[in-house]
Structures are given as structure tokens and as C-alpha cells.
């Protein structure tokens, strides 16, 4: 059978699908991954033959800034907003729909090329990232089933819907403009979030174990050296680094100062460009440029992170307690769920930014995560829950059956 995976040009959306793509390949199926040129470097470094989609929305610099500003100027949203959109005010609802339309514009820019690729290669099944709606459009055009691969808690609320749960007009137009009937729901959802952390579950969900894949990389040699103190890993992810440049590290500079007051070893994992811009790191801090987190976290005691889904799930799979310091609404969702299962602490940068006690709050949070067994116990339970989910290899037959094979 032929399976086409697709994600828009964002590594955190491509990476979670790679283990499932290889599960198909290792079972003898033919697999391709299609994504946009902006992530070409990681697209061709996962071992699966690639299709490069050159189409992308042509945002002006002003529109790009508008998107980044809209995302990062949000104050803290109500706790558990993702489970009940009635908690949101009009501005917050308008923001969600604004983001949804931006994502649909990306789907519009990708769809025709993806259809063309599909008409030539003739996949039997399309697996698309949760917001890469071009996958659903291409599947409709080719008459093959589509599966939506979720990359974390932020899959809900669905970005292509308005806040009453109806598809946005622009989503419907992705189909109608191509003479296709709108497809509201995929044939199945693949969800790698452990059930205890989910915001919502669609009826036709295939549970899959989260197998961390954080991009290619090398095991840092120093990991093998005995650690004489607890090890705290600090990261702020791909997305903020790309959107904000050097500014992305700001919430974590205070955190680094705070953690340095504890008797711990600090490991900073971020992009090489971010590391270059860091000054005044606490003495003895180790840095690992773009090292895959899943190679490092099994040897860490606490992770301090930005609220990214891939980051949260990777630490969860490694059984590590987490402190999330979020600064945008979608990054509040997984920390909220993490707090719900007891495996972490959630702080909001918007609240910490002007708080003179920020450093002390962060230091206390990390200290609690290090010393209070309830956090490490909860993190261990979460890891065990993830390990009890069916591995990607085990769901291949379920998904091939969807394609009637």
C-alpha cells in the first residue's frame, strides 16, 4: 500500500508523524512525506523519501508581524479554556478564528501541489498533520481515506471551526472552489496524547503511543559522565525561536538565574542561533544545540519548557516532571493538562514579566519538582500510561484496513 504523510512547513508538526511513517515502511508499505520548502532541511533528514511543496502564502512583512503580535500579545487566558470556549471573551474568540484563517490560507497554498503529487503517485491513504487541511482536500480529490494525525493537546479546539463548532467559510471554500464536497471530519484521528491528558477525544480516534522523534541528532558525549547533582534541562522550543529570534529566550533568562541558585547542573537545549545570543549563562551550564530532547531527558530530573506539545509529550514519555512557562494561549493547554495529572507546574510569563518575585517563584517551583515525590510519581505514572498505549507498529493494520487493504 502507498501512504502519503503531509504536514505544513513546521518541524513540530512533521516530527510526531515520523515514527508512524516508518512503521508503515518497516511493514513493507511505500511511504512519502510531503511538506513545504521552509523546512526542507529536516524534511530530507528523516529517511523517508520526500515531496517538496513550494506553495506557501505570500504574507507581507506587515502581515507576518501582525500574526506574531497577535499570538504573543495575548494575556493569560482562563484556565481550561480549551475545554469550554464559553470561557473566552469576544476578542479571544476572534483571535482563535484569525489563527484558523491563517492556517487555512496555508492549506489553500499547498492544496493544488499536493493534489498534483497525489495524482501522479496515487496514495491509498493520506495521513495529515492536525492543521494541514490540504491533506483532507487532496484525499477528497483522490477519493482515498484521510487520517488526521494530532500532535498534542492543542489539537482541540479544532482550528478550522469557528467557536460555535461550525466549519469556517474559508475551510468550506478549500473544497467548494475545487468542485469537491466539504469533508468535515477525517476517517480517523490518530492521537498520541495519553488519554489522561486529552482535552477532547473524537469518536473515531486511534490511540497511538507517543514515540519521541525530535529531529536528527547526536547523543552528547557528556551525558555518560556521572552527574553529581540533579540535572535540570531548560528549553524554549523551535516555534518561539523562529517567530521571535533572540527575544524568545527572555522568559528563560530569569529562569536560568533562578535555577542557578539551586545546587543543580543546568543543560540548555535550543537552536545554535539562540545559544549564540545567550550571554551570562550561569557558570557550568551545559548547552546542546538542537540536540533531540528524547536523547537527553532520560538523564534529567526536571525540564523547564515553553508549553510546546512535542516538548511536553517527550518529557512525559521520559517520565520527567516539568515546569512550563507559557506566553501564548495555545501553549497554555498542555501545561494545564500536565498540572491536571500532577506531573508539572504551570506559570504564565504574562503574569511573571513584571513580578519582582518572579525569580523566587520559579526557583521554588523547580525545587518542588525536584524534591516532592508527588511530581516524580505522577511523571512516572504518565510515562507508564504512554508505554501502555499501542506502539505505532501496532496500529498499522488498523489504518491499512481504513484503505480497504
Amino acid at each position: 500500500m502507498r501512504v502519503l504523510f503531509t504536514s505544513h512547513g513546521a518541524a513540530p508538526h512533521l516530527f510526531p508523524m515520523v515514527p508512524l511513517a516508518w512503521a508503515f515502511r518497516a511493514a513493507g508499505h511505500e511511504v512519502r512525506i510531503a511538506s513545504q520548502s521552509r523546512i526542507r532541511d529536516v524534511l530530507v533528514r528523516n529517511g523517508i523519501p520526500a515531496f517538496e511543496i513550494t506553495g506557501a502564502p505570500q504574507w507581507t512583512e506587515e502581515q507576518r508581524r501582525e500574526t506574531v503580535d497577535a499570538i504573543y500579545r495575548q494575556g493569560p487566558w482562563p484556565p481550561r479554556w480549551a475545554t469550554d470556549l464559553r470561557l473566552l471573551n469576544d476578542d479571544q474568540r476572534a483571535y482563535l478564528e484569525f489563527i484558523g484563517r491563517r492556517l487555512i490560507a496555508t492549506a489553500e497554498a499547498m492544496a493544488d501541489e499536493l493534489i498534483e503529487v497525489g495524482l501522479a503517485w496515487r496514495p491509498d491513504l493520506i495521513v495529515y498533520d492536525q492543521i494541514t487541511f490540504a491533506g483532507e482536500v487532496a484525499a477528497a480529490r483522490l477519493g482515498v481515506p484521510a487520517v488526521r494525525h494530532l500532535c498534542g493537546t492543542v489539537a482541540f479546539p479544532r482550528a478550522e471551526f469557528d467557536t460555535t463548532g461550525e466549519p469556517l467559510a474559508e475551510y468550506a471554500e478549500l473544497f467548494s472552489s475545487r468542485g469537491l464536497p466539504m469533508v468535515r471530519d477525517p476517517q480517523a484521528f490518530v492521537d498520541t496524547t495519553p488519554p489522561s491528558m486529552r482535552v477532547a477525544t473524537e469518536p473515531n480516534t486511534v490511540d497511538v503511543r507517543y514515540v519521541p522523534y525530535n529531529g536528527p541528532g547526536i547523543v552528547p558525549a557528556w551525558l555518560a559522565e556521572p552527574a553529581h547533582r540533579p540535572r535540570v534541562c531548560v528549553t524554549w522550543g523551535h516555534t518561539a525561536a523562529l517567530a521571535l529570534g533572540g527575544e524568545a529566550s527572555r522568559p528563560f533568562l530569569v529562569a536560568l538565574e533562578a535555577i542557578a541558585e539551586l545546587d543543580v547542573e543546568i543543560v540548555v537545549v535550543t537552536t545554535a542561533a539562540q545559544i549564540e545570543q545567550l550571554t551570562g549563562l550561569p557558570p557550568g551550564t551545559r548547552t546542546a544545540a538542537s540536540a533531540p530532547l528524547h536523547l537527553i531527558l532520560p538523564y534529567c530530573d526536571v525540564l523547564v519548557q515553553q508549553g510546546g506539545d512535542g516538548t511536553t509529550l517527550t518529557a512525559a514519555a521520559c517520565g520527567v516532571p516539568q515546569l512550563a512557562i507559557s506566553r501564548k494561549p495555545d501553549a497554555e493547554v498542555s501545561p494545564g493538562q500536565l498540572v491536571g495529572v500532577g506531573a508539572g507546574i504551570h506559570l504564565r510569563y504574562q503574569e511573571m514579566r513584571d513580578d519582582p518575585d518572579a525569580k523566587e517563584i520559579i526557583r521554588n517551583a523547580v525545587e518542588q519538582l525536584l524534591v516532592e515525590p508527588r511530581y516524580s510519581d505522577a511523571a512516572r505514572r504518565l510515562r507508564e500510561e504512554i508505554e501502555s498505549q499501542p506502539a505505532p507498529a501496532e496500529v498499522v493494520p488498523t489504518l491499512t484496513a481504513l484503505a480497504g487493504q
Binding site: N46, G47, P49
Partner: protein
């Protein structure tokens, strides 16, 4: 389970193991690939977690890594380096996995298990022509500017065919090819066999001689000896005649299709995972 694989030679020795390494990860196991500096890029391009060894001593680095990481299993190929023995781990079980279909298999004395050859020869973007048949027969020629291949290209210049150079990912390029002309290396031979593409082998080394002899026996290929060609007065005509025969005589295509069917019936890498779990004394 923790599985260590070593990539210490050339990328072609790593490639056949990449699908199995990923089969293990996709089943939830941990995999690390120890690589010498020249192979680090090949390992990471395959998306596999890499451990750098051999800046000074491969064996010392491997021993240090094994002591720290404590693998349950060490993988090696049929011609791979005997890692477990080299690093003094006689108790780590080893097993030979043979990706050859029965028609191509060399006699082996060690215990082995069959594994389906799933082609992997490096990542890359699929060129858009590769997914579409051409108007004329498409012939893939090994990317090699050495002697016989200049000759091959000139011999093919007046054949009514589209000639494309071999490149990664080869299994993608071969989809709509009618013929491949190459040295007879194991990876290329098996990849063409998976695709059911007839082959013209211009062999040189003893290994190429042995494998191409078996391939010819299956009926899916013809072969010419590189040294023999060099001594001929009109080698281009010899090559041209072989190409014409391979394209015109459907028995080559039929035999190549049979070989592809044979491969399809072999257990996929995913099916070997329980065997490896049992070998390590874990799971099934």
C-alpha cells in the same frame, strides 16, 4: 529494549539496517547507532539517534558507551563488523539477518533469519518525473564517470530511450524504469529486484561476480565483465546488443517480476521485531 547498531565502514553497510532500526523504534524500542565521524551524517539523515565513536579509538568508545547505556541487543549485518565480539560482550546474543531472496542467497554457515529487503539508500526529494511513466523506455545508469560507464552512456546515445542517472532514493527513481545498468553492488541489485526491473550488470570485483552470477541465474539480468569489455574492439556494440535484448525479450521482465514477488513474500522488518525481542530474552 535497547538496541545498539554500529555503522563503522561505509554508508552502504549502514543502509540495509535502517528499516529494521526504525521497525524497532516504531515498536517502541530504543535504538542508538554508533558511527565513526565519516558516517555520522548518514545516520542522522536516516533520522536515527547517533552516538559518535572513533575520534581516537572505536573499540574504546564503543566499550564506554555499552557500559553506560547497557544495550540488550547488538545488531550486525551479514557482512558487518562483529561489534559484540570486538567490544568483549560475548554474552550479548547475535543473530545474522539475510536480506537476500532465496534465488540470490549465498550459502551461509551461521544461523540466520530471512528479512525482506526494504530499500533505503539515503533520503532525498523524489523528482517529479519518477512517479510518471515516460513516453519511451526509461533506463537508469549508475552514476559513475569511470570507464565502462562512459562507454555505456555512449552506447545508449542512439537507443530510443530516456536515460537517467541513478541517485538516492533509488527505489523511487526505479518505479517506471525498464532497465538498470550498474556494477552489481548488493544494494542496487536488491533495490532493482524489489522493483522488478531487469538489470544489466557490468561487474568487476569478486563480490560483484558472485552476486551477478546468481542474478543471471534467476533470468532477471544479463552481465558483462568490465575487464572483458575493455579488451574488445567494439564494446559499445556489445553493450548495445545486451540492452536491446533486455528491452525486447519479455522473459527478463517476467523473471524480474518473479524475483520481486519472492521478496514480497519474505517477512518485513517489522515482523522480525518479536524475533529480536525473544533473542534478547524480552517479550514474545
Amino acid at each position: 529494549m535497547r538496541v545498539l547498531l554500529a555503522a563503522l565502514g561505509v554508508p552502504q553497510q549502514l543502509y540495509p539496517h535502517v528499516p529494521l532500526a526504525w521497525a524497532l523504534r516504531a515498536a517502541g524500542h530504543e535504538v542508538r547507532v554508533a558511527a565513526t565521524p565519516a558516517l555520522i551524517d548518514s545516520v542522522t539523515t536516516a533520522g536515527l539517534p547517533c552516538v559518535a565513536v572513533g575520534l581516537e579509538s572505536v573499540v574504546d568508545d564503543l566499550i564506554a558507551f555499552v557500559r553506560w547505556w547497557r544495550p540488550d541487543l547488538v545488531l550486525r549485518g551479514i557482512d558487518g563488523v562483529v561489534v559484540a565480539e570486538a567490544i568483549g560482550m560475548p554474552n550479548v546474543p547475535t543473530l545474522t539477518l539475510d536480506p537476500s531472496p532465496p534465488g540470490l542467497r549465498l550459502p551461509v554457515s551461521r544461523p540466520y533469519r530471512e528479512i525482506r529487503y526494504v530499500p533505503y539508500d539515503g533520503a532525498g526529494v523524489a523528482p517529479d518525473w519518477a512517479d510518471r511513466p515516460g513516453d519511451r523506455p526509461r533506463i537508469c545508469v549508475t552514476h559513475d564517470n569511470g570507464d565502462p560507464y562512459r562507454l555505456v552512456r555512449s552506447a545508449l546515445s542512439d537507443v530510443d530511450a530516456e536515460v537517467v542517472p541513478a541517485a538516492a532514493p533509488l527505489h523511487v527513481l526505479l518505479q517506471h524504469c525498464s532497465l538498470i545498468v550498474h556494477h552489481g553492488g548488493e544494494g542496487t541489485t536488491l533495490t532493482a529486484a524489489v522493483r522488478g526491473v531487469p538489470q544489466l550488470i557490468i561487474y568487476d570485483t569478486p563480490e560483484e561476480d558472485q552476486l551477478s552470477h546468481r542474478l543471471v541465474t534467476t533470468g532477471a539480468a544479463m552481465r558483462l565483465r568490465a575487464k572483458g569489455l575493455a579488451g574488445e574492439a567494439d564494446p559499445a556494440t556489445t553493450i548495445r546488443d545486451a540492452v536491446d535484448k533486455l528491452l525486447a525479450d519479455s522473459s527478463y521482465l517476467d523473471a524480474a517480476a518473479r524475483l520481486a514477488e519472492q521478496i514480497k513474500r519474505q517477512p518485513a522488518p517489522a515482523e522480525l521485531v518479536p524475533v529480536l525481542e525473544a533473542l534478547a530474552g524480552l517479550g514474545g
